[in-house]
Symmetry: C2
Subunit: 440 residues, 2 copies
């Protein structure tokens, strides 16, 4: 996929719904219902929060309308009927229809990718296939500051096997206050538990620090010691270039509501390396051969691909929203988006370092471009956060906070631009200075 | 919930999108794109397929539009912001917002119900909590003609524990050709395996025969012998009256795309009896206390209710579609709907038995009203099915077939009426006679 030769377009701002500042200030959907107004109400807001919830493609409503029209006019036949004036696949195939474009984004063979369920559930399902503790190998290594759901997931998987998390759950704690995990540090923990570890699970991009881990090196290193390696790609997918197949990752899972813009809680994705297609699994009819699925024979014939790990018929509404999103990604490439992303985030870093308020915060995300994605995480001096957040909100600048003192700022290459970055630094710097002055 | 005193309304046909016959014949969504037309193109079709996919409430599009407007104008703030001119809850609460109305439909305490994930996944998650095989009790009893996904689910759960389905999976086979499972037959299988069985899983309404099992009697009988009892309510929810709490069911799960009209693959539901709130589970952040969910402490504090079994943030699109559906159910009661349903299905049975073609088919669904829901399953004489299906489709009559010789016909009380039932019997009878005459 390299549409337009070597220079695919990367500016898709015009095909996204970017809230205006007035939209954000109103407590209503309708404009007319509003009383107060301000001169900048019609300006688009500065939305740097695609790491939490990506914005809505304009295509989404069009496609959901098509879906609703199909349901309204075809009823149950929507499952099988090919409709001439619809861009959508029959519901029976909506998930398959997404796989190729999704695989391109994560650098995988289409057969190794399935679009299904949600992130935490997919991690559980994958662990059910990959985490088979023995007397020799029973530990799971993950980070000590993992996203809570991943922590609970691993902890409960260990307990499910009757093992004790105190002995079997190995937490890699960041060696310094920044929260960053140096690769050597990760490898040293692997070394320490090499003989007793069954699975290593790490994030491609860490949610808090924005660190992009050295996925190929860590994968190979752990596999060489007999460990299976899985990745949580919630913050990596659609953000950084991934080559899951080349890196020989064992398994991975992700969500689609961040950089993939498929909407809150939308359908997730997973990767199973083809060498693992035969693994035991928790099975469901949607993973059984399509040709015999409706024969009702009760003989499970797993589809010989990641699709064989599917369980239920997928949400058509969510698959449709994801279709709208992937139709944008299709027009460009992760390589081109990454180039733009490095530029935007690089510019953000430079401007922050030049800010008059620079003594009031520090960037905890790694300074090396290879070690980060779109997001910079910024730690404020103690006591500043609350009033800085008030000011950012007043000015229509949307970022994401992690109490007590960190904000995460992520220019999404599909819809953000340099103006967003400048506007953020301008408002943020002033807000920090003001907060410091008023002593709060 | 008994709106309008003892006589809540039961005719909601006008708030559903019923395809016209022309809609079904066209291979397009747009009318204009069509060339051929027939005089009955604008008549509503005869849709008796709510057991497979329920029709779309007109509210669904309105609510999905509100959801898309919220995402477009509030971005990530949609998670928390209460919007004055929207009927929808902030996304953070969309699932909770559904629980009370869902609980009313299944006859449960709201604390015992969660709206989450999809059916097969929910069954796996429940089995992870409830199926804890020991040396003494390790079997799972289910029907031999279970819906394939349930069969694969149980089989793979047994294998997951390192056990052999040949020894641990007990299949209740129907004693006669009809496929119906007499209660005494079920109880006798329970008796045979009483000491070694951990879990009994049965369908509330059987998908193929339409039989409504004697849930309270079977539940109590099995529990008295120390067996945990779970129910697959895919075909029961929104169809027959359920009293999960009173019946002291241990657990249950269902989908929402059949009688609940929430759209293909929409979000599912589950029931956990309050006595089981403490059970171990496969955990995720969405099941951890709301107040500390974003503290990132990595201490799992399960919500002390069925919500504690949640894993991922829910699909807002699907939750929104379900909201539209439950806003209809709220205006009536399952008692009133059941009364109408008994009437419609009773009428269907009478008319079929009076049909001139009655020698060409038999009804396999139990004749007793207490033992069935909306659906009648009809077995045709060998060789008739294919041409009968062609004729039904031509006439805009939508039912569901199970090769080689069964059709399932389900008047849904919310939107079907006596005219639908009469029209079906009329077309079906003629189609059978014609098929028999032409020798195929
Ligand atoms: C009785 C029964 N069980 C399980 C399923 C599987 O449902 P899902 O694909 O939502 O997991 C169905 C689907 O129709 C069903 O009817
Ligand atoms: C890194 C990471 N893991 C897991 C999750 C949980 O996702 P879900 O609620 O879709 O299961 C998130 C959600 O933001 C996340 O960022």
């Amino acid at each position: 996929m390299a549409p337009n030769g070597d220079h695919p377009p990367t500016d898709f701002r015009h095909v996204f719904k970017i809230p205006t500042k007035g939209d954000l200030r109103r407590k209503t959907l309708q404009k007319s219902a509003d009383l107060h107004s301000r001169p900048d109400d019609d300006e688009t807001c500065v939305y740097l929060c695609g790491n939490s919830l990506g914005l809505q493609p304009t295509l989404t409503r069009q496609y959901l309308d098509q879906y609703l029209d199909t349901w309204a006019t075809k009823g149950v036949f929507g499952h099988f009927t090919h409709i001439n004036d619809s861009s959508l696949a029959p519901w029976m195939h909506v998930d398959d229809d997404l796989v190729e474009d999704m695989a391109t984004i994560v650098g995988a063979k289409p057969s190794e990718v399935a679009v299904m369920q949600t992130l935490t559930v997919n991690l559980h399902l994958l662990m059910a296939s990959f985490y088979k503790p023995t007397k020799e190998r029973y530990k799971v290594i993950l980070e000590g500051k993992a996203f809570p759901s991943d922590h609970y997931m691993v902890e409960s998987q260990i307990q499910h096997h009757g093992l004790d998390p105190a002995l079997s759950m190995i937490l890699i704690e960041p060696p310094t206050d920044s929260g960053v995990l140096p690769t050597d540090h990760i490898l040293s923990v692997i070394d320490r538990h090499a003989d007793t570890t069954a699975v290593l699970l790490l994030p491609g991009v860490q949610f808090y620090t924005g660190q992009f881990l050295d996925m190929p090196r860590i994968t190979t290193y752990a596999q060489d010691q007999g460990i299976l390696v899985g990745w949580d790609l919630a913050h990596a997918v659609g953000n950084v270039p991934l080559q899951l197949s080349d890196w020989n990752v064992d398994f991975a899972a992700w969500c689609t509501y961040k950089y993939l813009n498929a909407g809150p809680g939308s359908i997730g994705g997973l990767y199973v390396n083809e060498k693992h297609f035969h693994r035991p699994r928790l099975a469901g009819w949607w993973g059984s051969s399509k040709s015999s699925r409706f024969d009702m024979t009760n003989r499970f014939e797993p589809i010989p691909s990641a699709a064989g790990f599917q369980l239920s018929n997928p949400s058509v509404a969510d698959s449709t929203a994801l279709r709208a999103s992937l139709d944008i990604f299709k027009q460009t490439s992760m390589k081109a988006l990454r180039a733009k992303s490095l530029e935007l985030t690089g510019r953000l870093e430079v401007l922050l370092k030049q800010s008059e308020a620079k003594h009031l915060f520090s960037i905890i995300t790694p300074g090396s471009k290879a070690e980060r994605g779109a997001q910079l995480s910024i730690r404020l001096q103690p006591g500043l956060l609350d009033s800085v957040l008030v000011r950012l909100e007043e000015e229509g600048v949307v970022i994401d906070e992690r109490k007590p003192d960190v904000i995460r700022v992520a220019p999404a290459p599909l819809y953000n631009n340099v103006e967003d970055v400048k506007a953020f630094v301008h408002v943020f710097g002033a807000a920090c200075l003001e907060a410091a002055k008023t002593g709060k």
